[in-house]
């Protein structure tokens, strides 16, 4: 029975989100509000399907952890450097100013020191979940505003554990000793753990991945991916670092791995579902009766907190050199108070720094700022965006530059042919993203200094990860035509802008790929045959320039005939008569010169 109840809960959750999320999305409110509304409806306040909200919240927080892992995976070294600078110039000032100002204001409102400090720390945090979700929905991870927001969020994630320590300290201060909070042993433990994870990531994981990839069973890869993220996160938490930071670190370590794309596609669906569940469970925590009783207070405090954070972050953005629009967007993204504030407040309550009624009110205020986020973004879109339109063009250009940084070429298959092409591109300093499904082959090319990712190009999500949306050309040089054809069909439908160059082995392959929609098809044996034939003619006494001419004519004629044959390739008889005609044409075409000479006479020169 127990099992069935879980399934029922799952059905309710999925149904509610499937009703609300498309609705709010359609209204331009974003997905988050939809999840929150779904949560409110099925939570204890209204329908009461779920009562153990905090347990669900704890599970679903894992969505954020997975999200941070994925972000770590996508961070290239040059972006990491940029992120570090941004954390210093945006993250640190945000934290300091926000805590100090909040503390000062709360004291003015005649609250006690400990209370003001605990609350100001909770207020300082921004919602990583909302921030990441909004950035993903609006595709702004590469913009200045997106990068700035992420820097602030990551800095806060690092600060959470010290904050929890401070809260414990504030609570424990009457009791005396603080030695047990900060001691060298725990610092050493943290250091050892991080070192262990780095060692694991650098030297061990790739080996495991390779063994699993060789089995060609995708579900094993999904298992190891999840095991890795959950394991690292728990390990980090056990020594007192945040899970989100732990998984971010794990992601970073694997950012250079050949199995990066496969990891991403394995984790991605779990992340999406858990993030949804997380927002839904936040919705469930909304205490409707309390809102009805104290709606004025909730509303006023909520607006005040939101405006306070928005104003401060906008200023920090401006001072750090962002333009008006970028600062606005960044401030809007980071204005909602974060989910970790719940944790800090809970601990503050446990340490009797705040009362139960204060806790409930604060929680409601936090949720209200989360609700204000999509609303304010909608307002921003409707009202202010027009004003910034002139500047939009500028940032549009920036985006285009960013796109150029992405690889223009994707190569599916890293066999001999793929290697030749990639070497050529490498010499021209053109980057290509290379996918192959054979771990041995990946290992092989690694030895000569080339990098391929383990990944199946017949999968849409894999192609997306490889950058199919921004790339210009897809080279399909996989061995079997059936796979090649699958890729062509998939790409033709989903990425019509992508030029497809495909290799094929023979005429039937050609017909198949041509029909599937490949733009350019190269017959490997044909081209090798022509090159050998040209040399052969030279050896047999033709002048090099003549041999070249004949081979070119032969090639043109053959390609033309092939194209004609393609239109009849279902009709065997037409094909045969075409072949006969083509054969007799060939002699005339190759010896065009002699014809002309016979008619017009010699030049003799």
């Amino acid at each position: 029975m127990e099992d069935h109840q879980y399934l029922l809960g799952f059905i309710i959750f999925l149904t509610a989100t499937l009703i609300f999320v498309p609705l709010t999305k359609k209204l331009g409110l974003g997905a988050i509000l939809g999840y929150l509304m779904a949560g409110l409806l099925i939570g204890p306040s209204i329908l009461g399907f779920f009562n153990d909200v905090h347990r669900i919240l704890a599970i679903s927080e894992f969505g954020v952890v997975l999200f941070m892992f994925l972000i770590g995976l996508e961070l290239r070294p040059e972006k990491l450097r940029e992120l570090r600078t941004k954390m210093l110039w945006l993250g640190a000032p945000q934290m300091l100013l926000s805590v100090m100002l909040g503390f000062f204001l709360l004291q003015l409102m005649s609250h006690g020191n400990s209370f003001a400090f605990a609350l100001s720390m909770a207020l300082t945090l921004s919602s990583t979940a909302i921030g990441l979700q909004v950035m993903q929905e609006r595709k702004m991870a590469e913009t200045n505003a997106g990068k700035g927001s992420f820097a602030i969020l990551l800095f806060q994630d690092l600060a959470i554990i010290p904050m929890l320590l401070v809260v414990s300290f504030l609570g424990a201060s009457h009791k005396g000793s603080i030695d047990h909070l900060i001691d060298y042993k725990s610092l050493l433990r943290i250091f050892m753990t991080v070192a262990f994870i780095i060692f694991l990531g650098k030297y061990f994981l790739n080996y495991i991945f390779r063994q699993l990839a060789a089995t060609q069973l995708r579900e094993l890869f999904t298992s190891i991916s999840l095991l890795l993220v959950v394991g690292v996160s728990l390990l980090m938490e056990s020594v007192g670092l945040s899970m989100a930071f732990g998984s971010f670190l794990a992601g970073l370590l694997l950012a250079e791995s050949e199995y990066r794309f496969e990891l991403e596609t394995s984790i991605e669906p779990f992340k999406g579902l858990l993030m949804g569940l997380f927002f839904t469970s936040v919705g469930m925590t909304i205490d409707l009766s309390l809102i009805i009783n104290k709606y004025e207070q909730v509303f006023i405090y909520g607006v005040a907190a939101f405006l306070f954070k928005f104003g401060l972050h906008f200023l920090i953005g401006k001072i750090s050199g962002m333009d008006k629009e970028e600062s606005t967007v960044m401030a809007l993204i980071t204005a909602p108070i974060g989910e970790f504030a719940f944790v800090i407040l809970k601990l503050s309550h446990d340490q009797s720094l705040i009362t139960q009624s204060q806790l409930s009110l604060c929680n409601l205020v936090i949720v209200s700022t989360m609700v204000f986020n999509p609303l304010s973004l909608l307002l921003y879109d409707r009202v202010f965006k027009k004003k910034f339109n002139a500047k939009k063009n500028k940032s549009g250009e920036k985006n285009r530059l960013d796109e150029q940084k992405e690889n223009p070429v994707i190569v599916a298959g890293f066999g001999r042919l793929g290697t030749v092409i990639v070497r050529l591109l490498h010499a021209k300093k053109i980057n290509a993203t290379v996918l192959d499904t054979d771990p041995k082959q990946i290992e092989q090319v690694k030895k000569i200094g080339f990098k391929a990712y383990f990944g199946d190009a017949t999968r849409l999500d894999m192609l997306k990860l490889a950058g199919a949306e921004n790339a210009k050309v897809l080279l399909i040089v996989v061995d079997d035509t059936f796979t090649a054809e699958q890729i062509v069909r998939l790409v033709r439908v989903n990425f019509p802008h992508l030029k497809i160059m495909a290799r094929c082995h023979g005429r039937n392959d050609y017909y198949a790929l041509r029909e599937a929609g490949a733009d350019m098809i190269f017959r490997d044996a044909f081209l090798t045959g022509l090159t050998m034939g040209q040399k052969l003619l030279e050896i047999l006494g033709e002048r090099a320039s003549d041999a070249r001419k004949y081979v070119h004519r032969f090639k043109e004629h053959d390609e033309e005939m092939l194209e004609q044959a393609f239109f009849h390739h279902h009709n065997q008889e037409a094909l045969i008569s075409l072949a006969k005609r083509s054969f007799s044409d060939l002699d005339r075409i190759l010896n065009k010169d002699e014809d002309w000479v016979r008619k017009e006479g010699h030049w003799n020169d």
């Binding site: 002048r543 090099a544 003549d546 070249r548 010169d593 010699h602 030049w603 003799n604 020169d605």
Partner: protein, 197 residues
Amino acid sequence: MIKNMRQLLYLFAHPNFSHSVMSKALLEEVYQHPQFLFRDLYELYPDFHIDVAREQQLLEEYDGIIVHFPLRWYALPSLLKEWIDVVFAPGFAFGQRGQKLQDKFLIPIVTAGGTQASYAAGGKNIFPISHYLISLEQTAKYCHMNYIEPLVFYGVHRLNQEEDLVKAREFFREELTKLTTEKNLKNFSTLKFIDDF
């Protein structure tokens, strides 16, 4: 090899050598002269991808170049033009650091379809051959080379007797010997053509 003999690079550029008559005959004479390094450009570079370093190295080693070609639309065959374009590079042929071609000979040998009379005012082609080769001449002078007036075989379109070819070869044999032995090549330039056969 005899000392004091001029060592010359013999560049031959013919886009349709298989169908030529005169050039084939003339080359029979060229093959007899060991002091020429014979280079058939259309055979060496059918793809027009010229080995510049190799060509420049040879130019430095030899005393000069003979360029032998059929006139194509009153100009050099395209591969020969390409050869000059890429081999006479700045830093090698001209410019501050390279004047490697200084005082080297540039000697054109040209086969033309029209008669000598046609290459004159009132003729079909109006201007003399030297007029059409003016860019070659100026290129040589720009590189401080020693430009020699071209040796031209006119009227090869009308060529139809075996003895014409024999005559041409005899004449050519003497001229080639002069090219390598004559102290002053100015003499060569006075014998710059044989007339219609």
